[in-house]
Symmetry: C2
Subunit: 418 residues, 2 copies
């Protein structure tokens, strides 16, 4: 297979499908989503047989059990994928929505209509369920998709793509609205990242090294999620009971997620009171604490934090703690060491809350609630393709709207420029 020719064909097919999909009726898109879900369930045993090929290759390659677990298409995974597609069908269609349609002094009406981006390239790692999720979100938002999954999931991804394409065909939509790259050749990724004429945006989903490679190489705009180095700052005017509950939840609700707290900042005047309480609770959960020198004055059992700790995303039961002089130092710490993802303040002071919301430069800024809320579902987007730490186009959790653009529309009755 000539990879350049193959990828050009994939790109041209995606562009042609996108032109049809851009003005597809909402009913057809929803019908396709339900038909995809039906196909995933109807063909479960075939999907699992294809998945078994990936699993046995993965075991032979020595993948660890966590990776094999992510790779497995269990009955529960398949049911979850089908349910996810049906949920996307139930969301409002963003495409064609018109806002701000206002008369101008010239008599024309000017407004904005929501439109798809076009063709979205998605590059992801071993979880094959992304194939269905991403295809569903892109389809509902009127975009054609080119999916490039990990080579260790190739049989699973191809099989899922076949079910997705069955669903598209059932709704009389072009099967090429969703294409899975058929080759595991790494050169195909390079071609995808250079396919400016056929692909409008690239969304990488996976570990940091994947995302860095994609960002470096891509000639196409990338919507990416890099680090989640999230902070909770406990102010001297915090309600300390709330602060303990929120800090505990932010760290221990789940460890391996991007919106988990990695660094706790505590105002000096409340440190003596709150740190021992928190340390006891973190200790119960088995969380390792790494503190600044002042923290260790109150918590002698904590390990010493190094400079590197402040910019480390642990994704693990480890927490760095720094005692700060007050909100101003907390904000400076967050804007310097954080990843502009999600940061929270615990305070009952109105003026401080207002200031923190304004000046903290993160995609989600929170007052008196857990960082774990930074999530498309919790924010009410209905679904999420990822959390963007970029500023351009989409910032924070990206749902259907983040996969769209807006064009201007003008309605007149013969007006001309004078």
């Amino acid at each position: 297979m000539n990879i350049t020719d193959y990828m050009q064909a994939v790109g041209q097919q995606a562009r042609a499908a996108a032109a049809v999909l851009a003005s597809a009726e909402t009913a057809a898109k929803n019908q396709a989503l339900h038909a995809m879900a039906d196909a995933l369930l109807a063909k479960a045993s075939w999907l699992q047989a294809e998945n078994a090929k990936d699993l046995s290759a993965g075991r032979a390659k020595g993948l660890d059990s966590a990776m094999l677990d992510r790779l497995t298409l269990s009955d529960k995974t398949l049911a979850g994928m089908a349910e996810g597609l049906r949920q996307i069908a139930s969301l409002a269609d963003p495409i064609g929505s018109i806002t701000d349609l206002n008369y101008r002094p010239t008599g024309i009406q000017v407004g904005r209509m929501r439109v798809p981006l076009g063709v979205i390239g998605i590059i992801y790692e071993s979880r094959p369920n992304v194939t269905a999720d991403a295809a569903g979100l892109c389809l509902k938002s009127g975009n054609a998709t080119i999916l490039r999954g990990g080579s260790e999931a190739i049989h699973s991804n191809r099989a899922i793509a076949a079910c997705v394409q069955d669903g598209l065909t059932a709704a009389n939509l072009p099967a090429n609205c969703v294409q899975v790259i058929e080759t595991t050749d790494r050169a195909a990724v390079g071609e995808l990242l250079r396919a400016k004429d056929y692909v409008d945006v690239i969304i990488p989903r996976g570990g940091k090294s994947l995302i860095e490679r994609v960002s470096q190489e891509s000639l196409i705009p990338v919507i990416k999620h890099l680090d989640g180095i999230c902070h909770v700052y406990i102010d001297d005017e915090a309600d300390l009971a709330k602060a303990v509950t929120v800090a505990l939840n932010a760290k221990t609700h789940r460890y391996g997620v991007c919106n988990a707290m990695e660094t706790l900042l505590v105002a000096e005047t409340v440190a003596a009171q709150i740190l021992p309480v928190l340390a006891a609770k973190f200790s119960e959960k088995g969380v390792e604490l790494r503190g600044c020198p002042k923290t260790r004055d109150y918590l002698p059992a904590a390990n010493a934090a190094t400079e590197a700790d402040w910019s480390t995303e642990y994704l693990a039961p480890i927490l760095s703690i720094r005692v700060v002089t007050g909100m101003q130092q907390a904000i400076e710490h967050i804007n310097q060491y954080g990843s502009h993802h999600t940061d929270a303040i615990m305070t009952e002071n109105y003026t401080k809350a207002r200031h923190f919301l304004r000046v903290v430069d993160s995609s989600s800024v929170i007052v008196n609630a857990s960082t774990r809320f930074a999530d498309g579902f919790e924010f009410g987007l209905g679904a999420e393709i990822g959390i963007s730490t970029d500023k351009l186009h989409a910032r924070g959790p990206v749902g259907l709207e983040g996969l769209t653009s807006q064009k201007y529309i003008v309605l007149g009755d013969g007006q001309i420029r004078l």
Copy 2:
């Protein structure tokens, strides 16, 4: 001067200034804009003396009279620049604006707050007035700016930048909120386009070759305006009197602008009636007509259009004309040959108007009005830094809002994820 070191210093200074500017008060930004305008007027004779250096160097270099005209800082140009800055001061401040703040079932409130992009790099050609316009728009939207003008305007741009920095200082804002690159070395442009750590977005303003170079080389996202190949389609159900007026305005109101019509599409059944009327009017204005074979059946005096004409932006008194079978062929022509800038239909048919608005993939889609309306002022944005033909982030005329992003804000009273 070591260009790499110099550009790194410029980038670091811009990043530091942006951090201050992001939460600057509206009053301070407006004060700076008025003080800049005052400085431009107070220092008019000095600005014109600096400008004279560029003009005499330009004449020695053999610049043509149109270029020298664009380069000249006349009293009128300076008054226009000052007035433009005062108008930007009068616009609402987009920064900090909160929208869609709603309660979620968990009890948290989630909304979005408008924030600056950060640091904007602007690369432009010979018009020195861009220095003040762009600085003003970026300042009001809370962004630091790095400006790189054409080498033929270097003395003028430095002098304008000095006035701009006077204004910033008068309002106690960092002078580095607006920096003009002091060297004419072309390597500085390359450094700017690679300064990912310091620059968030690049906006090129100028001719096609500049914009293509910037797009090719930039490692930073680019908001760009490429071609304006705009169409008017006269439907068989158009009000022909309106259609004649609008087509004439779209072509002849100004020739050298991106929203001028370059191709006229006419439905077959009205071609015999309308083409001779239009041809007579275009002939009065001295517009050269280039027609498809069917057009020339009705207008034997028209030149023959070649395939290349359909994708040419004339920016001149030349118009290509194609007779089409109806709206469907018109839409196919527009989506194939157009530049997704601005396209209009003339029709009295409700269903066709609704369909055209939906399926034409352009940044501005117009029913029964001149393409010349595609403009930030006409659309009510108050000001415009350019017209984007991209889809990601900003599409169509880009005003203050296009220079901003949105972060999520969450207000709670101790909520945790369950």
